[in-house]
Amino acid sequence: MTPERPRAEMPMDKPEPAVKDILDAIEVDYEHVDVADLMAQIEKAAAPAPEPGASASPPAPPAPPAEHGRAPAPPAPAPAPAEGKVKLQDRATRLLSPFFPIMRLIGLPLHQEIRATQASLHATNVRIDRDVTAIDLRLDEARRDLNKTHEYVKLLHNLSHNLIMVATSQKIEIDMLKSKVRVLEKELDYLQKRERALEEKALR
């Protein structure tokens, strides 16, 4: 058995805040564990986020582009760099600092372009997700309709099969009755002839 480990300490190569947030949101009553209740929480947490406009609290929009004349937020520092490397970076920063306004001026349109592209890509992604969900729903409905139709066709097939069976047996019975009638007619003829012959004999 692994020792008890707080959830936050679960080692993760690629931290995924969404998963952690979801798990933090799940409340467990350890005294009376109720699977149905737990699963309702997990299902709710695992459900895809609501689409923008479909809910009262739409997801946060992408970060706004940097304002004109102001530098964008500095990039995050590299993880635990060596001391010499830090000094070198500081020196280079000091050396280049007079040129920063020009660099910003050159870099800003590019930065804005990237942010605008990102925003556009995000919006497209959201739209695609929404469309895919809608298509899935429609597909499910179509599948259900198809299943119903399939069952209906099966029923009709059975019905027509049964009707054919009944009709065929009726036809056979009619043929049989006809041939019986023919036999009876012949028998009647024969009996009439015999009757006549006997009458003649009796009269004689």
Binding site: M1, M10, P11, L23, Y30, V33, L38, M39
Partner: protein, 389 residues
């Protein structure tokens, strides 16, 4: 009078769910009176080729009568017929032809059942979908008790089975879900039936350490037990597990025990140990964080019950109504329908040992309350008494 257990295969080396179920119940019911097993000479469930000699033998104190199989299964013809009866409009004769091909076709067994009806108090037929159950129940309906071991798979919708489910004197179901499904399909509510299931044989002691040492395993692992097969949901399990590893970076491993008929992804955290003896299986369970059960179709998952018997939590596929129902009734496991639910449920279980322990405790209580052998035996006796034994 003697009780007859009728099953498609029987033997100590046969580990199929329904066959093992039948063997265990037969061996336990032998305590209460004479018991015989009527079965075929088959061992392989694909071809049904004769393997054991025809005639009688005694296995664990139970007399077994074996009858030869008249024809091996032609798997291609069977596949064609199955596609036809499941997908196309077809006649009753096609379904009967499917049943013949499904096998194991043993006219000798059927003739024996017909000729010796008077010698037996009851015939317990295991697994509705095989030749011996369909024709056996029709041969001796007044003395037949059907243990359907039915799953929610498409063949159950065939017309021949609707008719079959209306014939036996009584039913022994594996779960409430199975009973509801069969009653909804066939409208046989008037036929008495009891949800019983099956117990399990637990070893005297389990050692997680021994298992870890033998197989060189360290760190936490989740366990899958059973045939590694697409039908058992293993393909989904591999996809979900690998995605889970990518998303969370969890160090957990997936340990697989059972024969593989599906390629297993080459990943350092997926360990396939092949088919292991029972003791190793329970040792593996004892060391696992939890049991994962990805199967879509189960009539009663015996490994799930074994996990609960050892106080282990379970993560099951919610698409299988039986597993979902068992998890909810027992409060012994979580379940998932989608990858997101799998990720969140597994992450929650791995991160909270207390929750795992509580679920395991609930599962163990559920097992003790429903699946110990004295309870199973008493329920069987009740059904037999109700059926007029």
């Amino acid at each position: 009078m003697t009780l007859a257990f009728v099953v498609q295969r029987y033997g100590l080396d046969i580990s199929g769910g329904a066959e093992l179920h039948c063997r265990w119940v037969a061996e336990h019911m032998a305590k209460y009176g004479p018991v015989e097993v009527l079965t075929t000479c088959a061992h392989d469930y694909i071809t049904w080729a004769d393997h054991y000699p025809a005639g009688t033998e005694v296995i664990n104190g139970v007399l077994v009568r074996r009858f030869p199989v008249s024809k091996s299964r032609d798997i291609y013809a069977f596949s064609r017929l199955q596609a036809r009866v499941l997908q196309d409009e077809h006649r009753l004769e096609d379904e009967l032809a499917w049943l013949d091909e499904e096998g194991p076709t043993s006219p000798g067994l059927m003739a024996y059942i017909r000729d010796h009806e008077a010698d037996y108090a009851h015939f317990l037929f295991f697994s509705y979908r095989y030749y011996q159950s369909y024709w056996g129940v029709r041969s001796v309906p007044a003395k037949s008790i059907l243990v359907p071991t039915a799953e929610h798979d498409p063949v159950i919708h065939m017309r021949i089975f609707k008719d079959l489910f209306r014939r036996p004197k009584a039913f022994i179901y594996n779960s409430e879900e199975e009973r509801d499904m069969i009653q909804a399909l066939s409208g046989n509510r008037e036929i008495p039936g009891l949800v019983v299931g099956v117990g399990t044989e637990l070893p005297a002691a389990c050692s997680a350490e021994r298992f870890r040492r033998t197989h060189g395993l360290d760190g936490p692992y989740v366990l899958y037990l059973g045939r590694i097969d697409g039908n058992k949901g293993c393909a989904h399990l591999f996809d979900y597990f690998l995605q889970f590893k990518r998303d969370t970076g969890s160090p957990v491993k997936l340990v697989l025990i059972g024969s593989a008929v599906l390629p297993i992804p080459a990943h350092p955290d997926i360990r396939h140990l092949g088919f292991l003896p029972e003791q190793d299986k329970f040792d593996a369970l004892a060391g696992a964080e939890l049991l994962v059960m990805p199967s879509f179709y189960e009539s009663l998952s015996m490994v799930t019950l074994e996990a609960w018997a050892l106080g282990k939590a379970v993560l099951a596929n919610a698409h299988c109504e039986v597993l979902r129902g068992q998890c909810r009734r027992s409060n012994g496991g979580l379940y998932y329908r989608t990858y997101a639910e799998f990720r969140d449920a597994l992450d929650l279980l791995l991160a909270t040992p207390r929750l795992r322990a509580e679920l395991g405790r609930n599962g163990a209580a559920y097992f003790r309350g429903r699946y110990t052998w004295d309870i199973i035996e008493r329920k069987y006796l009740d059904v037999l008494a109700g059926a007029g034994a």
